[in-house]
């Protein structure tokens, strides 16, 4: 939704703002909150790089280049979304944000964009106080801050714009200074979760309208609320259950849902790891960072196709044979691709093909969770436990007796199974390794870049595996075991909920997931859109505890 000239006038007729919009002191109406479930305190959440870019694109248009080096994100309890409540910005980060803000602002005010985006005729050169400019800054600010500017904030912006225009003798430079400031400010960079107290006696509350709108929009679209959602917040409609539900359904029905779902799975599957993935290019020349990009995209397309376009069962992700390939991926998988030019085309693995474990045998999974020069059953097993089954595997202990691993009579173990043998027999190691190794060893037919192999160092690979008592052969067996595992569906429901609300589930929420969300998810055939809807309409989605009382 680009910032158009028409909007300036629309906003000018909007509701008048109170001095302190974050804390109205009113009690919400409509939706009942499960008050026996204490949930997270409000938090400041740093926008991710993709959210930053999406927001800028939504407001100013997708031809504005918002690429820049941004500070690294923190993963907490398996999700970057949870870590966003903890990231702080070091001076290097401010440097980077300031540079990026300036770059974006410079484009908005340049000759190519200014008429369309700002649209104020250059009347009196240095006067910032004309209503058109004021209106632009207020409108841009509202979209950037995801709520109307306070009068104090607006004053700050206008003064800054005036100063900037004076120094550089150019009204647009002044507007640029204001935009640069807003894009570097905590009101933009952080998502503010402002509470509204419901019951001061029990310290319970819920997110105010704007905060709730943001949470919903970032959950489903990975971007800032659009104009319609902001208006619904502003008018109070979001505080009614019918108004809220209408917006939920609107966002779910939009094609932009794909972006939100992609952002979720990128986070859940740890795809940020691809940025620093390195493979030995002498042993595996087919690997390149471009292949990494293709690998991620293959999995995301498969997920979107199965879950969104076809409204499929989540469990099928572990057995689906349909995927999408580029020529590069075809070269790694050793299958003919229809896309002989460098484009994407659908592909279906035959029943003969050993690649029958859906996303588990995609390069994005097996290559990401491996070493540079060889595969890793332990890392893959751990990834399955932690990313897909929500089961924590403890870190290795400090002082390990590695003398046990050196069997001097057989110094060269040819297959990974042989190398990891000691993990299974030594009691100190087995405790954790029995969680990971039997699972990961079933994927040993896939090397460190995802190509299929039947031998390692001349020895035939034994890909038998085990998941919580269920024995199977090879990757296809693993896929089926994952499909049948109740932990897999419970995990995605839990993670998606946590991703949406931004905190780890507490005891009461866990109970609600088990007795309420879980059975509903099953009833809906494990489809993702109903799950998203259930979460967005859940009592926990807007609930908050320990709101700050003024």
């Amino acid at each position: 939704m680009y910032l158009a000239v028409a909007m300036l006038f629309a906003s000018a007729t909007g509701r008048a703002q109170s001095q302190e919009p974050f804390f109205t002191g009113t009690v919400h109406t409509g939706q009942s909150v499960s008050v026996t479930a204490p949930v997270g305190p409000p938090a400041l959440r740093l926008l991710t790089a993709s959210q930053y870019k999406a927001t800028v694109a939504d407001i100013f248009g997708s031809d504005i280049n918002a690429d820049g080096d941004l500070p690294p994100e923190i993963r907490k309890d398996g999700l970057l979304a949870l870590g966003s409540a903890q990231t702080t910005i070091a001076p290097t980060g401010i440097e980077e944000y300031a540079l990026l803000a300036h770059k974006v602002a410079a484009q908005v005010i340049d000759e190519k964009h200014r008429n369309n985006l700002i649209g104020c005729a250059p009347s009196v050169p240095l006067k910032i106080t004309d209503s058109c400019t004021k209106g632009f800054i207020a409108t841009a600010g509202r979209l950037l801050y995801r709520r109307p500017l306070t009068s104090g904030e607006l004053k700050t912006q206008l003064e800054l714009a005036q100063k900037g225009a004076g120094i550089l003798k150019d009204r647009y430079a002044g507007i640029g200074a204001s935009l640069t400031n807003m894009l570097s400010s905590p009101q933009f960079l952080y998502r503010w979760e402002n509470p509204r107290v419901i019951r001061s006696t029990s310290n319970e509350g819920e997110l105010d309208s704007y905060s709730a709108a943001q949470r919903l929009s970032f959950f489903l679209w990975n971007s800032a609320p659009d104009a319609e959602l902001l208006s619904a917040a502003q008018s109070g409609k979001l505080d009614t259950s019918s108004g809220w539900n209408r917006q939920v359904d609107r966002l779910l029905a939009s094609p932009r849902l794909e972006l939100g779902l992609r952002a979720y799975f990128e986070d859940m599957l740890g795809f940020d790891g691809f940025k620093s993935l390195s493979k030995d290019l002498v042993l595996y020349p087919k690997y390149s960072s471009i292949l990494g990009v293709d690998a991620k995209e293959e999995t995301l397309r498969t997920i979107i196709d199965l879950l969104l376009r076809n409204g499929g069962d989540y469990r099928d992700l572990f057995i689906v044979k349909d995927t999408f390939l580029t020529k590069r991926l075809g070269a790694v998988y050793g299958v003919p691709t229809e896309a002989a030019s460098d484009t994407w085309a659908p592909f279906k693995f035959s029943d003969r093909d050993p690649r029958g474990a859906g996303i588990l045998t995609h390069a994005s999974f097996v290559a990401l969770h491996s070493h540079p020069g060889r595969s890793s059953a332990t890392i893959r097993g751990r990834a399955i436990r932690e990313l897909l089954l929500c089961q924590k595997v403890p870190d290795p202990p400090g002082n390990v007796n590695f003398n046990l691993v050196q069997d001097t009579s057989n110094p060269l173990y040819r297959t990974a199974r042989q190398r990891l043998q000691v993990h299974a027999t030594e009691p100190m190691c087995a405790g954790c390794h029995k969680l990971t190794d039997p699972v990961g060893l079933s994927l040993e037919n896939f090397d460190t870049i995802g190509a299929h192999r039947t031998e390692e160092n001349g020895a035939v690979i034994d890909a038998s595996g085990q998941l919580d008592g269920v024995k199977f052969e090879g990757a296809n067996g693993l896929g089926k075991a994952m499909h049948d595992s109740p932990a897999a569906t419970a995990c995605v429901a839990e993670k998606l909920y946590e991703y949406g609300v931004g905190h780890s589930v507490n005891k009461a929420e866990r109970e609600w997931l088990k007795t309420n969300l879980g059975p509903s998810f099953e009833q809906e055939g494990y489809r993702i859109v109903p799950l998203l809807r259930l979460i967005a309409m859940s009592p926990g989605f807007r609930a908050v505890v320990n709101p700050v009382i003024r």
């Binding site: 804390f23 001076p91 300031a98 700050t156 912006q157 400031n181 390195s278 070493h371 400090g398 320990n546």
Partner: protein, 448 residues
Amino acid sequence: MRIATKLANRRKVLKGILGSAVVTVALPMLDCFLTSNGNALAATGSEIPVRFGTWYWGCGLRPGRWEPVKPGAGYEMREHLRSLAPFKDRINILSGLDVSLDGNPARVHWSGTRACSAGEVLDNAPSIDTIISGLIGNSTRFRSLEASTSEAKGAAANTVNSISRINSALINPPEASPTALYTRIFGPEFHDPNAAEFRPNPNLMVKKSVLSAIKEDADALKRQIGANDRQRLDEYFTSVREIERQVDLQLVKPAPLPSCTMPTQPHETPEGTEVDTVSTNHALLINLLVHAFACDQTRVLNMYFTGGELHKSGDPTTHHTNTHEEPIDERAGYQVKVAWYEEYIMDNFAALLKALDGVKEGDKTLLDRTLIYAFSDHGLAQSHGLQNIPIILAGGAGGRMKGGNHIAFRGEPVTRAGLTIQRIMGVNAESWGTGSMKTSDSISEIVA
């Protein structure tokens, strides 16, 4: 605790310069060019500043192969460290220093790193470079500069390849791309101190206003949030002030520096953990950092050389995996492949010393005026050992550190090194470290 910068004088001087006036006369020596110890810059003929740097590598060194046999000033350089032989008399080798967990869980490839860099095995305390840059970093454009040869996560539990932390959440992230680091230091915002003319950039004045306006809504914002978030917001505003300080410095003509030359702009290089790629990128990065020292863009550098994921082209096993899996060679008596990596790492450390030594400053070199603190995460990486962590101190620290010593410790914490370093660099530290690693004893043999 940051030392406040004195800006009042500068504001008066700057009034009227804005916009177009060309300043050809050097500004009088302002307070900001002095550290709190009063060391002025070379331009006025006074003492040239002392610099500090950390150089970190993962997976230690095999005990028994690197420690000189005898302690003392006349130590013999071991074959394993032969690449450091040219600097024998300007480095101090500290052996036998230990890390104490005090019951805390051992986080492999990280507890030792934290102990050496911050005096504790947890993640709360500030790292030594931030303590020192808090003291000596006020008058340079960058308080400190962090680099690493790759973004690939090594064996460690840390999430970012940097030892430089202000607290558990505030990490100074590294730059891994030489071209990006060049642009950051020597790109459009760089003022050559030796350039004849100085024109304060009006865009920078606007930038200054932009930054200072961020704080105007601070109070209103802080009222709305809980204590935790308030702290994060404070850290955010502190970071903003830090950048404001940078901008302020860039609005004043820098003093000329004879040893400052522009480095050549590096070409785009591939990134990765293959050993040739790593040493190429390392050479490019340290070249930029050394030039940054010479041009007084910073006085503190942090190089995170490797977390352990080094590998040789064609070898499926990384350095780190080899430390655990390679059997001891019967004839040699140690892990041969691991030994190769350790010597490769020392080669690259020697490259840093050589680069520093290549810049003349007056009658000495940059290495004479720098203190480099090189350390690792483990002693014997094979078993994640926390005894006998290899620590090497290099450089003259402006005459404050004596070199050429091997000190063989027994049952002493690694914090002995960090405390000594801080005192040499002028930090008023009564003690350093937590729990049984708390110490108040410097290593007197190396203090001049």
